[in-house]
């Protein structure tokens, strides 16, 4: 009883700590990748988007969490010398249009309306789940757009345009609907920075390839295919990411600083005033990959609940965790991977093995010495009690 009480107290205190720092935890990653222009001579925009698609997939965002919108099909264009292949480099080493490309919106489906529907989640009933952005308040979303733009607009197809206030509206709606925790908007068009001018929602980070009045240029021409195959901004973005893998800790600021205006022939623009965290502390994989601070919970069931219920439920959950006896049944499944560093709420362990495991995990996480000492004392106390009882 005493043991339970003690552990319960600790659990409570930890829960307090986490809820006060940030209301929600980063739970998943989504990416919306949009190529907005059609026609053969805009080959590079499709190649840009597909390159980024490949990168975020490689860094761990699964296909079902990537919405890929391609306004035209260059791979099957009759002018393509390499049928069903798309390259982003003249060396043709990497076919971006391999077997595992899932295009969610293609051709004339890529419209401003559909784009806004994807962002805001206001779909018609018939739209399948695979075409929806099913993010939640713990999601980090990467929104990448490329095409032809101008002062406060981005051209879609050849007929319509997305204006900066449309985008800001959609983001605001997303925020209201708690569809994201953090959003990184990355735009590679001419005068890309103007597209961000209307954004007001907190948690939004934006980076554009060029300032107002500047053009974004293509990187190089593939004389074999006969078109430019990649834009400069995207090319150097990819150059940055090619060096990384899923476990790298490169920060967003190092990414942002990697752009050289001379190579870009334009000035990359960041808008950070809406973003709370320090860029030096945010790994790029927070957006481009699917690496997040994992919250180790004892029970899968519980953690599912936490996702579903949402905000400010952590305290309540920990309370339940003490009293609830049903969840102990599932307990055994969860005690294998204890990599997390925040998981101090392994409480109410009554079997010795469980306890030992939790102690081990605490030994590995040496950041909280007080807790460690506390646990050690508790352990010794229990040993003492047991030994005295046995010696009786």
């Amino acid at each position: 009883m005493l043991l339970l009480l003690c552990l319960g107290n600790i659990g409570n205190s930890v829960a307090h700590l986490s809820s006060s720092s940030e209301s929600t935890l980063h739970t998943n990653n989504w990416a919306v990748l949009v190529c907005t222009s059609r026609f053969w001579f805009n080959y590079r925009h499709m190649a840009n988007t597909l390159s980024l698609y490949r990168t975020v997939k490689r860094l761990g965002i699964p296909d079902e969490r990537i919405i890929l919108m391609l306004a035209d099909d260059m791979a099957c264009n009759a002018r393509n010398k390499y049928p069903a292949q798309v390259f982003n480099n003249e060396n043709h080493k990497l076919n971006l249009y391999g077997d595992n490309v899932e295009v969610d919106y293609r051709g004339y489906e890529v419209t401003v309306e559909n784009f806004l529907r994807v962002l805001t989640g206001r779909h018609e009933a018939a739209v399948p789940r695979s075409k929806r952005l099913l993010s939640d308040e713990g999601s980090h979303i990467l929104l990448y757009m490329t095409g032809h733009g101008g002062d406060e607009f981005l051209k879609f197809q050849d007929s319509e345009e997305l204006q900066s206030h449309d985008l800001a509206d959609a983001v605001k709606q997303m925020k209201e609907k708690r569809r994201f925790k953090e959003l990184l908007i990355m735009v590679d068009t001419c005068q890309a920075s103007t597209l961000f001018s209307q954004l007001h929602s907190p948690g939004v980070l934006a980076i554009g390839s060029s300032m107002k009045g500047e053009n974004s240029y293509s990187h190089h021409l593939d004389p074999d295919v006969g078109v430019s195959v990649v834009d400069r901004f995207t090319y150097y973005t990819l150059a940055f990411f090619e060096k990384l893998n899923m476990y790298d800790n490169a920060s967003l600021s190092s990414f942002f600083n990697s752009f050289n205006p001379n190579l870009l022939m334009s000035t990359a623009y960041y808008r950070m005033d809406l973003y709370q965290r320090r860029l030096e502390e945010v790994p790029v994989t927070n957006f481009f990959g699917s690496v997040m601070e994992t919250l180790h919970t004892d029970s899968a069931y519980k953690s599912h609940r936490s996702i579903d219920i949402g905000e400010a439920k952590i305290k309540k959950r920990t309370d339940q965790s003490i009293s609830g006896s049903d969840r102990r049944i599932l307990r055994n499944m969860n005690n294998k991977d204890q990599v997390s560093n925040l998981s101090t709420e392994e409480n109410s362990q009554d079997s010795f093995g469980q306890l030992w495991n939790s102690v081990l995990s605490k030994v590995t996480t040496t950041e909280n010495v007080d807790e460690f000492v506390c646990h050690g004392l508790l352990l010794m106390l229990s040993l003492l009690v047991a030994s005295t009882w046995l010696s009786h």
Binding site: A78, R79, P83, V227
Partner: protein, 714 residues
Amino acid sequence: MAEIAEPKLKQRPIVRLGIFLISHSLFVSIVCFTAGVLALLLLPVLAKNTYISENALMPGSANNMLSSHDTSVANKLVKDLTDLKLRSRGSEFDSQKLIAQYMFDLGAEVTHHKFYPQSNQFHPLHFFTSPDSGNIGKNISCSSLGINTVGIIRAPRGDGKEAIVLVTPYNSMKVGVEEAFSLGIAYSVFSLLTRATWLAKDIIWLVADSQYGEYSAVAAWLTEYQAPTFSRAHIVNSETCRESNIVYKHGQKPNAEEKLYDGFRRAGTMAAALVIKVAKQSDYFEDTVNIYAEASNGQMPNLDLINIVNYLAVHKQGLQIKVSKMWSLLNYRWLYTLGVVFESLGQIARSLNPQWKFGIPATEYVEGTATLASSLYYQGLGVPTGPHGAFRDYQVDAITLEISSKVPLTKMARRNEFLIRGGKLIEGVVRSVNNLLEKFHQSFFLYLLTSPSKFVSVGVYMISFALLVAPLPIVAAYLHVEASDFGSIQPKEKSASQASSASKMNVNFDSWKWLKSARKVFAFHLWGGVVSVLPYFISQMPNLTAKTSFIVWILLSVFSLLVSYMISGPSFSEAAASQSQKKEWASLKSVTISAAFIGLSLTSVINFATAEIGALLIVPICLMARPLKLDIKASNLISLMRITSNLVLGFIGFPPATYFLLKGVFEGYSGINVGDFWEWLESLWAWNSATYLYIGLVHLPCWALCIHILFHHC
């Protein structure tokens, strides 16, 4: 003027401006006309550099793929064709068979298209109509059958809705080295394109049988392609022409014989057409490409097509590009001096403000003027400058490329290099057009070239024409007011309040007096129509030389003029009688000028260059015309000058005189023949040129009316 200005309520500014202009019509017309001529001379300075306007074209972005393999097979074709000529024992269709076999071996779809050459027969009702509606079936013998050979490559992954056409005119009767080489260039490209995986448009290679003219062969094929007439195909394939049908005897080419489809094959709508010719050795020290672009009635292909050819030839293949020039203009001192003046003006402007980019070197100015003059002339003529003109009738952008080598083509070593250069140029253009998503529409259709890479767009060259014709309505209005005033001179002297109702009646009557003049002007224009129809009847008469036809035509014209004088005779005598109608000539001139203005404006819509040249010739005489009698009476210096200038302008304005004068100036007076004008006009109506209509219906009547005014008895 008093009557107009008098009404109590204040007139609107635009009305007052109009009145101001009309009352100062002499000054305005001098200023406008001089400004118009000056603007025309300034055009070479105002020319802009061409640029590729359509993003989709991307010329030169892809590497050339034409290999030595392609040229070696092409070389073999050239050799076979020239050998065929040397042997000359085969039938006349041997070369067609040979070309078809070569095409077939590449895997293309091959057909022969048989046609009867269309003689360009003038028919007054056939202006602006399809040339095909003429008489077919008359006087057609099997011997006059032309055979086009057509090869089609289908784009492997294309939708088959669009096509690019390559045309090589080719006379099977006498194959020159040049023609064989043009086939060689086209063949090397064709050979490459059969292997290309990037084709989005089908490729049609038309070997046009040019023994009855390059144009008619291409036109016949195009007519069949775009507007097939089913009865005609039947005639061609009938038994009567058996001997001229291509029969592959003895099973010598079993493949071709079996697979050759004898119907007409089509691909999609044509995106562009290139006519490839090889000219004799060039006068320059480089391989050159001559571009011919003018189609009928001054229509031009989209400027982008010329731009891509120019870009690829200059920047990729190192060929020199030429467009036609008026060579004789290059030697004019005054033009050079003008160039120097413009150059120094430009320098002054630049010293005042470095931002002002104005002025070009004098030599460049002279070159630009020579090119501009030629551009204006060929557009104004309204006769296509090559087989590409046939495509324009179906709204297909087409140009003729005439490639010439710097060394004789008989030299073996140069052959391959020449073929590869020409082939790469064509390949580049085809690949660029292949990238096109829609019709050419981005760049200009209305332009004048001042060099292969400089152009004057419609917005700029319109100004000079507008300035030239602007005085016409103003002077017409001025003369009309003056003519009306004359009758009401009495009321003018009285004060306005005293103007009686009788004089008002008089004014009302006078204001309708112009109708009489209008009747006369109308009669003259009717006569112009008769004169322009006369050649049709003259040409029906057998055994007439150009000279006699011309003279007959002039005689008939004068006769018809006299007849029309007779018919409208009473009005002339009446005119002389009344004192109040002494200024009848003013009213007549007013209506004449209005008619000239309307005629020129309408012509400018159909063919701008014609209107521009016509305005230069007819506007001065229209403005200056004044009865000689009046000037003789006055007999001071000004009137003397006016008499001489009127006579000179009157002489220049007469179409045959203009023609012979210009011909003399540009080509020298030595070789002038009276029949030349007839032949020139004949070519105009044979090509359905609107210039012919302009001369007959606008220029000639206006000129005759001006002469009538000059010799007016007042």
